[in-house]
Amino acid sequence: MFSPSDLSSYLIIGAILFVLGLFTVLTRRNAISVLMGVELILNSANINYVAFSHFSSGNSDGQIYAIFVIMLAAAEAAVGLAIVLAIFQIFHTIDVEAAETLKE
């Protein structure tokens, strides 16, 4: 059942990655770890896009969406990590609960 020519095996890998990313986001208060969990979730969504594009639609639209998601993930990582560094300069920690008041 779990074979490279079967759509559901890719969907299950995507589901596992999504759940692991969700677990990371839920259990960490460290802002960089939360960002890592978000990256895992975006990767799982991309696997689903490309898998459906390959097995179900027969055209390349899904791959286009995957490239847009990768592009937005890069923008998100750059801005997110810049914010993390700014928080670290002000609060000397990157615990997300330290920054919940949004002021010094």
Binding site: V19, R28, N30, L40, N43, F55, S57, S60, F68
Partner: protein, 166 residues
């Protein structure tokens, strides 16, 4: 077992194992380096799906860009690596129960649904097709993407620079 199936199993195990290391490791440095295996494994999965261009983009942007950025941030904020990673927003057990139930539901949904199948599954180079699509039907999103990237670049510089107080 065919060799391609064996390689597929290997890639899947690397991907899921590295992602599990990211989720469960107590040291943020180990988490950051495990992301390498997860991103590389996903690139391998794209190769199995016949998406050569997306696999190359994944390697270039995720492994070459985002991973380096994450490591950069980890190293610049190194004092947090010692203890605070064990602080949790939610406890591990409730999170494990929630995500376990979620995974069960997802897998049941995947296995219980009869997905639409394409008439034939083709393996061919996709770069030309993707280039045509970007400059024809997806031209407006493509231009918007360049604006978003410019805004993100300027935003990152503005946020992370040192503020000069008069």
């Amino acid at each position: 077992m065919e060799i391609s199936t064996a390689v597929f199993y290997l890639v899947a195990i690397i991907t899921v194992g590295s992602a599990a290391m990211v989720a469960f490791s107590r040291n943020i440095i180990y988490s950051a380096f495990s992301l390498l295996g997860a991103f590389g494994g996903v690139a391998g999965i794209y190769v199995f799906l016949g998406a050569d261009f997306v696999a190359a983009v994944q390697l270039l942007i995720y492994v070459g860009g985002i991973l380096v950025l994450v490591l950069f941030a980890v190293m610049l904020t190194h004092r947090i690596t010692d203890v605070q990673i064990t602080n949790r927003a939610a406890g591990r057990l409730p999170a494990l129960i929630v995500t376990g139930v979620f995974l069960y539901l997802l897998v049941e949904a995947v296995r219980g649904t009869s997905w639409v199948k394409a008439k034939e599954v083709v393996y061919k180079a996709t770069t030309g097709t993707i280039g045509d699509l970007f400059l024809e039907s997806y031209l407006l999103p493509f231009e918007l993407a360049s604006l978003v990237l410019l805004a993100a670049l300027i935003g990152a510089v503005v946020i992370s620079r040192k503020e000069i107080k008069e």
